[in-house]
Amino acid sequence: MTETRLYDVTLRDGNHALRHTLSSKFVRSYCEKADQSGVWAVEVGHGNGLGASSFLVGKSVESDLSLLQAARESLKKTKLAVHSIPGFATIKRDLVPALEFGVDVFRVATHVTEADVSQKHIEYLSNNNVIVHGVLMMSHMIDLKGLVAQAKLMKDYGASAIILMDSAGFFIPREVAERVSAIKNTLEVEVGFHAHNNLGLGVGNAMSAIHEGASLVDGASMGLGAGAGNAQLENIVAASSREFSLKSDVYSFLQMSKLVEESYFDKLPRTTSSSTQSGLAGVFSGYAPQVSAISEELGLDTNTLWKEMANRKLVAGQESMIREIAQDLMNL
């Protein structure tokens, strides 16, 4: 644990749960607490990252730069981080202003099979004296050999860490361990893990990554994140305190989670029957609202729909496909 850094995604993944209504006021009060906690970095922005505010995935109420400014002013010890997906963000429009703004850590993310799309963005950032991580989203949708090959691409472009995202909340602890160690044993690169809580295994999976020697582990206060939410950051710290001697103080993380709990009582994510089905099927759990609505409209079982979405290997950002798949199922 002494080597594992905590990475706080509350103000980024949590923005999914808040439907991108995060305010600079909240960012400021959260970051003031986070800065005292010993958390390594706080990630801030739209749920889909820099430059993602759009009709397609949802408009942010406040701009990226306004949120980043609030965070920058409040973070002294803790690093300021952003998530960025090529295809939404560009170097010129999004990365350059964020660099000028003093962002410390950039995470460049692609679907787990599409790492080569990140080449120019990672190369550009790693030439600019900031910390760059490569993120593989939906990391269960590839075998171990393929995973290592995609991780190697990002490493070779210049990423100092590879972050495996369990975007669907599909993994069990043994699979997390296999993946973290497959990369650690093959490539000289740091490994991080980002859990979702669809099967109620968010914290357990994060612990599994820590045991396997992951250098970074992601969590969100109160699990505030897409779908069933992320691993609860305060619980990762609490559970770790049973095993390791920590520099971090559990109490300060509880202060952060209390702020989230009180501010967004009606928006806190939870594991539901639908999110369990999507987790088992390995489908991005952010689709839950559409799946419920369309299933009800067409009189279709949600589980059947989740399974067919999994068969078609749906990835994040394909909201328009759900109705089409549901209609195909009804014609069978």
Partner: protein, 303 residues
Amino acid sequence: MSVTKPIRIAIIGTGNIGTDLCYRMLRDSRFKVVALVGRRSDSPGLNIFKDEVDHLVSNGIEGLVPFLKDIDGAFDATSAFDHKNHWDILAKSQKWVMDLTPSKIGLPLVPVLMNKIPVMSLQNNISSNYSMVTCGGQSSAPILYAIASASSGIREVEVSSSIAALSAGPATRLNIDQYIESTEGLSALISGCDKVKTVLVLNPAEPPVMMRTTVNISVDFCDLEQAKVSALNVVAEVQRYVPGYEIVVEPHLQSLNTISATVKVTGAGYVLPEYAGNLDIINSAAVETAVLHSATYRSVSKK
């Protein structure tokens, strides 16, 4: 004298786009494929056409120079970076070029709009450079034009496309920012609005998905009925050169003051499978533009 003398062309680039172009133009009597230009002698793209194309060039643009006298123009399916150099050489030799890279050097052209938007008129110059912009641009522009022409006070334009991961070649993947910037430039040109956004999602779903492009426009006012009629009309016109282009969601109010519509592009299936509608629409646009430009130039030069 025959008025149907074929247009003599070279294709530069032997990736997905170049290969598909070569295949379709070898089967199109309006064209004569004089040369296919690759950069490696073991290029699989060159090997496919070894019995069908007179000159297979494996050392890049330098290798094409001896044959420039035999062509009217060229199709450049390489990269934005290489296109600059190619255009220098082609322009000196008075050749036109259809640019299939997102270089933004030439005149952006969407064939169906050339008689609708003054800035997209054909050029009366033999060595013209026409930019096919991007697949997202070719698929969104007709719909954007239709909705914009029925609207006033355009505040924001967004074009989001999803394409099958298998149909995105290395150049597209490496140059995703150029793709976005070129598509946004075209949206701004057509709508007159500076607030433009483009999103591209590479989709590895199986079976591979057909390309879909959604246009969202935020406006002060829109005559929705007129927008629908215009959209259906312009789609029918596009279908003359891209048969697989169809509207799947008609213009509708997506939210307050925001109009949305979606098109789907199914490829013609020449070399690449049907899911590669993104490659089909850009190649079809280039072929159509070459035919129209050649006709214009020939009529001008006769005068």
